[in-house]
């Protein structure tokens, strides 16, 4: 049985006010891969994530998730597609008017199928997974520290048990201990559920601990994509700069 790739971008071109961000960008992510997306600042990593999410329409080219085109006009199909993915935004993007508990419960309540007890157990489970106490559930997002915001946001992204998880700078702003926990958590989830993960990160430890594949975004397209060890040997100024000789020891 051949599965369609989880993410398939074909010849995607994007430009903002005449300035090209992506040119003929193609990427194919298969089920179960954990892809680290690398690139210099301003190289369009977040733009690429937004295109995968369907928040931004590329000027040309197609984006397919689970074999479904994001431009499909079927609203129900689109909604069901969105439920299969979870996104962790760079700055958390928690609903500031809702408490931590309600933030995580929100996508579950939107399903309109689960009863209150089930939702409460699930929310507390997610809170425990990201290392937060049940008492934190009552706090408002404004009362949280930066690292806690990130963990709550991850719990919310995981609430619907997504098959595809998109992470934008997941460990930035976490202390090393927490980011190690984070790496272990996502790794566990990946093994248990066969998650596919795409993450933008600059943190070598996260990349080393988690990613199975690496995609390098430079010169407006993916210059290298493949297993971690292969990509490191690519001869490109960005790659050699990023995995400098002494840093290579880390991985």
């Amino acid at each position: 049985m051949s599965q369609p790739p989880v993410i398939e971008l074909q010849n995607v071109c994007t430009s903002f006010r005449g300035k090209a961000v992506h040119k003929d960008l193609s990427l194919r992510v298969e089920e179960g891969q954990i892809v680290g997306l690398l690139g210099g600042s301003g190289s369009g990593k977040t733009t690429l994530l937004r295109e995968i999410l369907g928040l931004l329409k590329p000027s040309s080219g197609s984006v397919r998730l689970f074999g479904t085109d994001l431009n499909d006009p079927d609203v129900i199909l689109q909604r069901n597609l969105r439920r299969r993915l979870g996104m962790l935004f760079q700055h958390g993007a928690l609903f500031s008017a809702l408490s931590v508990f309600d933030n995580i419960a929100f996508p579950l309540r939107e399903l309109r199928c689960l009863d209150a007890d089930w939702i409460r157990r699930l929310v507390h489970l997610k809170l425990a997974m990201v290392g937060l106490d049940a008492t934190h559930g009552k706090l408002m997002p404004a009362e949280l520290s930066g690292g806690m915001v990130k963990r709550v946001a991850l719990a919310r992204a995981l609430a619907l048990e997504p098959e595809l998880l998109l992470l934008d700078e997941p460990t930035a702003g976490l202390d090393p201990d927490r980011s190690q926990n984070f790496v272990e958590l996502v790794g566990d989830l990946q093994r248990e559920l066969g998650l596919t993960v795409v993450m933008v990160t600059h943190d070598l430890n996260t990349l080393a601990g988690l990613a199975s594949h690496v995609a390098v975004l430079a010169d407006q397209h993916i210059i290298a994509f493949g297993p971690k060890a292969e990509v490191m040997t690519v001869d490109h100024p960005f790659v050699t700069g990023f995995f400098g000789a002494d840093r290579r020891k880390l991985l």
Binding site: S96, W118, R121, E163, E192
Partner: protein
């Protein structure tokens, strides 16, 4: 991936197979729940389950009555997920907040109103101190912000105030003309329009428009600056937020308001004159000739001073609520609403005070 979760009850044991995930369970959730509720055996076979996510684990755990079944056959991964659910504390705090009783609610409103009043008085005092400081240090006067605010609150509001003023003028003139015609008192249209628009309607109309337009903008702007911590940045740079942010807004609006009142009253009178011309055949020249006679100049002064006071009040109220926005969207919207409502109410209150204290002034005695 597309294996539906299946439940098979065999004599003495329950066999689960397929992919037990939230997405796969959703289409047949009620059937699965009903099926699980009927299962009572102590033998559970989960070995054919391909995937088990935490939603399904919670469902199973509830079915088992929050304890492990006597005989469970399961792979390592599903067991891990179930263990995680099992480790949750049994008692979970409810997330609901306590409801307020009526007297508490009233008391809270009163306390809130008192706190707001206190805050506005404090802001007023701070402004006085700032003015004192700026008199001693004239090089610190934020001229750029001041003029920008006059332009934003004044010049950019000319079109909308003119349109509304003109229409109100036409309406009043038209309705009064109908009444006056039946009494044969056509000529008094000059008195009615002149006094009502210059003394009362012009300032109040502009105040309501400006409270909705500039007042809400001020609250939202300062509020967002609080949410994004820009206000704190100013403080860390040693720049007084009240001199740089609040003072230009308050004085900008205090300067702009009387000018807007003058402009709106003029346009409203023009509208009234045109309607009178069409309705009563009252020539524009006659109207203009008689206006100074019918409306003593003190009315204009009262109208303009109302403009000054209203502008000041609106800006102080708007800035006060802006500075008290908490960093979340709910508070931002609540405070913007409060700012506009409080500003308009306070304006009407001050208008009533004006009416009482100026009752002897500017009313022509026939």
């Amino acid at each position: 991936m597309s294996e539906t979760p299946r439940l098979l009850v065999e004599p003495g044991r329950v066999v689960l197979s397929g992919s037990w995930t939230l997405a796969e369970m959703l289409p047949s959730l009620s059937r699965l729940q009903a099926g699980l509720a009927e299962c009572s055996g102590d033998h559970w076979d989960l070995s054919a389950v391909t995937r088990l996510d935490s939603a399904a684990a919670v469902l199973l755990w509830r079915t088992w009555g929050a304890k492990w079944p006597a005989h469970l056959v399961a792979g390592e991964l599903p067991r891990q997920v179930l263990t995680r659910v099992a480790e949750l504390p049994r008692e979970m705090p409810d997330s609901a907040r306590p409801r307020l009783r009526f007297p508490e609610w009233v008391g809270m409103l009163v306390l809130k109103a008192a706190a707001n009043l206190r805050g506005m008085i404090a802001l007023f005092g701070q402004l006085l101190l700032d003015v004192g400081y700026l008199i001693r240090h004239p090089q610190d006067v934020p001229w750029k912000e001041l003029t920008a605010n006059v332009y934003k609150a004044g010049a950019q509001a000319l079109a909308v105030t003119a349109l509304v003023g003109f229409l109100i003028g036409v309406t009043i003139s038209y309705l009064s003309a109908l009444q006056l015609k039946s009494f044969g008192a056509d000529l008094f249209i000059v008195n009615i329009l002149g006094i009502s628009i210059i003394r009362e309607l012009g300032p109040v109309l502009v105040a309501v428009l400006v409270a909705g337009r500039s007042g809400s903008a001020m609250t939202a702007q300062i509020g967002v600056m609080r949410v994004t911590e820009e206000i704190d940045v100013l403080s860390t740079m040693g720049i007084s937020r009240s001199i740089r942010v609040v003072l230009p807004k308050v004085f900008g609006l205090t300067v702009a308001m009387p000018l807007l009142v003058l402009w709106t009253s003029a346009v409203a009178l023009l509208g009234g004159m045109l309607a009178a011309l069409l309705q009563l055949d009252l020539s524009l020249v006659y109207f203009l000739d008689n206006l100074p006679r019918a409306v003593p100049v003190s009315n204009l002064i009262i109208g303009l001073s109302k403009g000054v006071v209203f502008g000041f009040v609106i800006a102080v109220v708007a800035c006060h609520f802006g500075l008290h926005v908490k960093p979340n969207t709910e508070s931002l919207s609540a405070n913007t609403t409060s700012a506009v409502v409080t500003a308009i109410t306070t304006v009407i209150l001050f208008d009533a005070i004006f009416a009482v204290f100026t009752r002897q002034i500017g009313v022509p005695h026939l």
